[in-house]
């Protein structure tokens, strides 16, 4: 059994299935799965989650959610002011971080800057980025007191470091031939940057900034939870006093802000794509 002969008289193995993936891949897959499972169980043990009364709490959560859905619009004036404050914080933080980041990114790009300087700047930016925005905000709240001012500063640091990295990456992707060609005409460093690099990275830089703005909007909405003003503060106060109807309205406003910006930029990106298609 097992080995039969086909029409040409060649032996054909009918029993043994031949695996299409190498045996080693299967082994690695199993090892990874078991590893993740073990990590998951260990994490559950570490957390020692208190599950008694969870069912009851889920019931409570649904009653509260039901109350949140019946929104109370009576505080719309306060909410509007707070939402505008959050929006301003996001816009301002994006602008004041994008402008210096743009200039600094030329020194952080390895292809147009000195190697050691680029390396140092990049390391510094990674360090700043490794500390979450909200921790920056918390530090400034501790130093400057409550209000939107520490919020702007908190957003500023993280945005700045992020944008330096993003812009300098775009600069590094500039075709070296383009830079070489301008250099060959005897152009100075500044001329190469303004005539060769800036026009090439303009579109990429704008979309990076837009992406960051989207992120900053989301962050500015929650800054209030650590005392940095804006709509998060209003949400925090209302939820603390079990004003769910008002809380629901505020959550809706946060959603609209975040969703609106996402839609706006999706459309912008779409337009950009269409333009690119036309040029081709």
């Amino acid at each position: 059994m097992g080995v039969e002969k086909n029409q040409g008289g060649h032996p054909v193995n009918t029993r043994k299935k031949i695996s299409l993936v190498p045996a080693r891949t299967g082994l690695i897959k199993k090892a990874v799965l078991i590893g993740v499972l073990l990590l998951f169980i260990a994490s559950l043990f570490q957390l020692r989650l208190e599950l008694t009364g969870t069912l009851e709490n889920i019931g409570k959560a649904f009653t509260y959610l039901a109350r949140m859905v019946r929104m109370d619009f009576s505080i719309w004036e306060d909410v509007l002011v707070a939402a505008l404050e959050s929006l301003s914080v996001a816009v301002l933080a994006t602008i004041i971080s994008a402008v210096p980041a743009f200039f600094l990114s030329f020194f952080a790009a390895t292809n147009v800057s000195v190697k050691w300087l680029a390396w140092c700047l990049k390391a510094l930016c990674s360090l700043i980025r490794a500390i979450p925005t909200l921790i920056w905000a918390l530090m400034f709240v501790a130093f400057l007191g409550f209000g939107p001012f520490p919020g702007v500063l908190g957003l500023f640091f993280h945005s700045f470091a992020y944008l330096v990295k993003a812009y300098s990456q775009s600069i590094e992707e500039v075709n070296p031939g383009c830079i070489e060609a301008i250099r060959a005409t005897g152009a100075s460093w500044l001329q190469i940057m303004t005539k060769g690099v800036v026009p090439t990275i303009k579109t990429a830089a704008i979309s990076w900034t837009a992406l960051r703005f989207e992120f900053n909007i989301g962050q500015s909405a929650i800054l209030g939870l650590v005392g940095a003003g804006g709509i998060g503060h209003v949400l925090s106060v209302n939820m603390r006093f079990f004003e769910f109807e008002k809380g629901g309205f505020i959550v809706l406003v946060i959603f609209i802000m975040s969703f609106g910006v996402e839609m706006l930029f999706n459309k912008l990106k779409l337009n950009q794509d269409k333009k690119l298609l036309k040029h081709d």
């Binding site: 301003s88 301002l92 209000g147």
Partner: protein
């Protein structure tokens, strides 16, 4: 019309656009600066004070606080692991239901997309605020909020990965008489695995950051430690906590980058 004649109005238009853009940015800066009571001169003047604050109060970090930090740190990491695993499993199901090539019905697709977008566009910290009244302060709320937030974004990431698969391969399996499940198992999943893993790792990175800050509004973990130390003016302890967060985030970023490079 010569080329030169055609270029001149184009150039004029472009410079006008640049000026308009610049004017818009300047106006926005002034208006938003006014609205958030932020003035750039004031901020510049505050720099020496901030530097002094960082270098005298925060630095050097208090290394003696490390043993105290270890347990909250493990909590933070565990929260990220649990939420990433749970959210990956759940969003895998949702993603298959809402990606164009695998959806059972277009209506299901629209509903799930909308649901994911709702979850995604409310920040995890706001979820904490929403859930705390029902579940009380603690790690449970933190994990729940992280799962909800990750679910929203991962469903979208996974669905996008599934939508990028090579449709011809699915067609080929269908042509051999493959059922829906066979198409899924032999056509879609093998093409998506590496993409899924990359997204899961990315989400884990985000979850570590998010779980570090969720502690600040009552989710436990290292965020709580930092908030607590700052409130008690123990700045050197807080600085140690922040330094630990930075190191852990950098390590995880580095590791996940290496893994992604290896599998993609």
């Amino acid at each position: 019309m010569s080329v030169r004649e055609r270029i001149i109005p184009l150039k004029k238009q472009r410079s006008l656009l640049t000026w308009l853009g610049l004017a818009a940015v300047v106006t926005a800066t002034i208006l938003t600066g006014y609205a958030s009571s932020f003035s750039i001169p004031e901020a510049v003047l505050a720099i020496p004070g901030i530097l002094k604050f960082i270098f005298t109060d925060f630095l050097p970090p208090n290394f003696a606080a490390l043993p105290q930090i270890l347990n909250p740190l493990l909590d933070t990491l565990a929260m990220a692991v649990v939420s990433t695993v749970m959210a990956s499993l759940l969003s895998l199901i949702l993603a298959f239901l809402c990606a164009a090539p695998t959806t059972p019905h277009p209506a299901v697709r629209v509903v799930i997309r909308g649901f994911a977008s709702c979850l995604r566009n409310i920040p995890s910290l706001a979820w904490v605020m929403i859930l705390v009244p029902a579940f009380g302060i603690g790690k449970f709320v933190g994990v729940l909020a992280l799962i909800i937030g990750s679910l929203g974004s991962m469903t979208r990431f996974f669905a996008e990965t599934i939508e990028e698969v090579d449709k011809d391969k699915l067609e080929a399996i269908r042509a051999t008489g493959g059922t829906y499940w066979q198409v899924l198992k032999n056509g879609v999943i093998p093409q998506c695995t590496s993409g899924f893993i990359a997204w899961i790792l990315y989400n884990f990175e985000l979850d570590v950051r998010a779980s570090a800050i969720i502690g600040m509004v009552g989710g436990g973990g290292i965020g709580f430690f930092i908030q607590f130390s700052l409130k008690l003016f123990r700045y050197a302890d807080a600085a140690m906590g922040i330094a630990v967060v930075a190191v852990v985030v950098l390590l995880i970023e580095w590791a996940s980058k290496k893994i992604r490079e290896a599998i993609l």
